[in-house]
């Protein structure tokens, strides 16, 4: 566990307490089985917002607490423990980052306080295909300084069903197909010409694909640095998601340890079988290593460190590997019961693989780390 300030310790304890009491995994299951259209519970979200979490990285001037990314990571880790379905990552971290980094004063005034309050949900719409390739942008934005028209498609938009506003990556007609022609645009959820389609995914969370036909959009900031804002935003997203994944992995592991201490086969607690013990010990090792990587990534985001991109890739790759291992072992060690829908193991497994695909998988981040360091 990182060295925490008193504020951070309090925040973590508050998050842990809220999760355990107000949003145990049964809450997620209930939401899943309810046919909830948004794929998260709005009352639960209001409670989270009331606790101030949506504003943790937002400057105080815009209604946030400016507690920083380590703090946000602590909250997300706790949410990950019980798979809380929440727009916190998409809105309070990712979209808030993009607007804070790139928005002009008016845009910040318009959106950040509402995001911090939880009354507006914002999200980043940047993927266009099956693979994570953020620089591959076919969506176009044409028009003038005062208004742009967006056309194209976006895929796999997190909380795309609930969002009040989208931050959309699009290419402006500067004649080049380089990253420099990429800008970000604010598009209201109710803008004419925008249609959303629900994506029903295995983790039962809220995703949409979007189609834009000459949809009115407002450029985020004054332009010229869209790609750089998007790149930094994505690294923050990855670090935040990595924290959530760490929480899920840790919880999946300890639930499995509990099972090993209670399930009897062959007249023994199965936790007494050395083959399982060594696999458990290895998982503990991977979890501790992953924790170091995640904390270092959050710290790098917090400090705006120059090696943030590589540290973020390091963390996302390692926690992805660990979560994959732990969720597979969770099912295997539970045996048949873990294969049933009524057991929670499947919920962890499914969420794990969706997180793996989000913002670049292990292979993507190993390769990115290698590219950054010149291998």
């Amino acid at each position: 566990m990182a060295i925490l300030s008193e504020e951070q310790s309090m925040l973590r304890e508050a998050a842990r307490g809220w999760v355990d009491v107000r949003s145990p995994i049964t809450a997620f299951r209930k939401m899943r089985d309810s046919g909830n259209r948004l794929h998260f519970d709005t009352d639960s979200w209001k409670e989270q917002a009331a606790l101030g979490w949506a504003g943790v990285i937002i400057p105080e001037a815009y209604g946030g607490s400016d507690f920083g990314f380590l703090s946000m990571g602590l909250v997300l880790e706790e949410l990950g423990r019980t798979l809380v379905a929440s727009p916190l990552l998409a809105s309070g971290l990712v979209a808030a980052s993009a607007i804070t980094l790139g928005g002009d004063e008016a845009q910040k005034q318009e959106w950040l306080p509402a995001i911090a309050e939880g009354t507006a949900i914002a999200t980043l719409a940047f993927e266009e295909g099956a693979a994570h390739v953020p620089e591959k942008v076919a969506t176009t934005a044409s028009g003038t300084q005062v208004g742009f028209k967006i056309s194209g498609k976006k895929h796999f938009v997190v909380e795309g069903l609930a969002a009040d506003v989208f931050i959309v990556s699009a290419r402006v007609p500067d004649g080049s197909d380089t990253d420099q022609a990429i800008e970000l645009f604010l598009v209201r959820g109710d803008a004419p010409g925008l249609t959303r389609q629900e994506l029903k995914t295995m983790d039962s969370r809220g995703y949409a694909s979007l189609e834009f036909h000459d949809v009115e959009g407002q450029r985020l900031g004054s332009g010229g640095n869209g790609w750089s804002i998007l790149a930094t935003t994505l690294d923050r997203a990855r670090a935040g998601l990595a924290a959530e994944m760490l929480g899920s992995a840790t919880q999946a592991f300890y639930l499995t340890m509990d099972y090993l201490k209670t399930r009897v086969q062959f007249d023994s607690l199965i936790g007494s079988f050395q083959a399982l013990q060594h696999r458990a010990a290895r998982m503990f090792m991977e979890l501790e290593l992953a924790r170091s990587a995640v904390e270092a990534a959050l710290q790098a985001v917090e400090n705006g460190a120059s090696d943030m991109p590589e540290l973020v890739s390091l963390a996302k790759a390692k926690v992805g590997e660990t979560l994959q291992l732990v969720t597979n072992e969770m099912i295997q060690m539970h045996g048949g019961i873990g294969m049933t829908d009524e057991h929670d193991a499947g919920l962890f497994l499914k969420r794990a693989r969706v997180c793996e695909a989000m913002y670049g998988n292990q292979s993507y981040h190993r390769n990115r780390y290698a590219d950054i360091l010149g291998y």
Binding site: E198, V264, A275, M339, A345
Partner: protein, 395 residues
Amino acid sequence: MEHVGAADLSDFREEVGRWISDNFPVSLKNMANPMSREAMAFPTEDQEIWRKAMGAKGWGTPTWPTAYGAAGLTRDHARVIQQELLRAGAYNPIGGMGVMMFGPTLLEYGTAAQKAQHLPPIVRGDFQWCQGFSEPGAGSDLVSLQTRADDKGDHFLVNGQKTWTSGAQWAEWCFCLVRTNPHDKYNGISLVLFPMSTPGVEARPIKLINGNSSFCELFLTDVKVSKDQLVGSLNGGWAIAKRLLQHERTALAGSTTTAVEAYSLRELARKYVGTDAGGRIANPDLRARIVANEMEGRIFKQTALRATAEAKEGGDVSALSSMMKNANTRQMQQRTELAIEILGHQGIGWEGDSFSETELTVVRDFLYGKAPSIYGGSQEVQYNIISKRILGLPS
């Protein structure tokens, strides 16, 4: 088993090919075998025609005795049938646990009357069987089973709960392990047979993480079982159960060698990841891992062929079945993990138009793919068998 000259086989091959082309409904060509899914419970008209034709011919159980309506052929002939089916894009519609596990065991341990009663419907594919083995408290540790059969003179009265009973909701009969002596763990188990329609038998489907419910919990409440449906001797069921499990292991170990794989990793990667200028899968790290997995798959098939050849020569290959089950499972689990990785955002779908049928199949297969290392003797149990029985490591 006698050897067959190549000449005999080539005549036979021609006969089989002709018969298939005369009898196999064209509409089913290159369709997956519905055996492996609940589809078997709801056959189409053409599927019924094909099942009945193969059942009447006895070629679905080619090596079983003709006395029960089967074909009584050699393994070489059986292989020819398999090859010709494959060539014609057809499948063997006679299968399931009756064919894989129960039939061979009954041939070995059953009375004449039991064989005469139970084998012909299996040969024809009329009846499906389910296996009442696992219990909530007896999974890997099967011998701890608690379902009781009390001797009531002319019948047993069976009470208890089974679980992981595959296809119980669609099966006509059940072969079931019961405790007939509570004081002797190993020598207190018997194998009994009963129709699923017997009063007191209730099958409740278990919903799995992939959304499927092909397994059941089986509740048995005062189920009357006629005494002539005891297989083998009273309290002698554990030896038969081990034999059944061996048949199961062998069948599971070999399952991917016959199943048509629904997709190829290479083709998925070409489509979803793309190729480089040299025509190679564009992500070289992914390419290396795909190739490593496909190499393992090929080596597994080589091993299955080797086991078959060695068995034919009379070698004891039972030692191989545990290792083959684990090898097969490992390769399959790596393959399904790679498949969802390749598909990226399309590899996490659950339902709906945003995902193609193949994409949804990949996801469901991935999820269900976590099961084979658990059922049929878990991976850990197979490793225990290898280390104890084959390698002779001490307790």
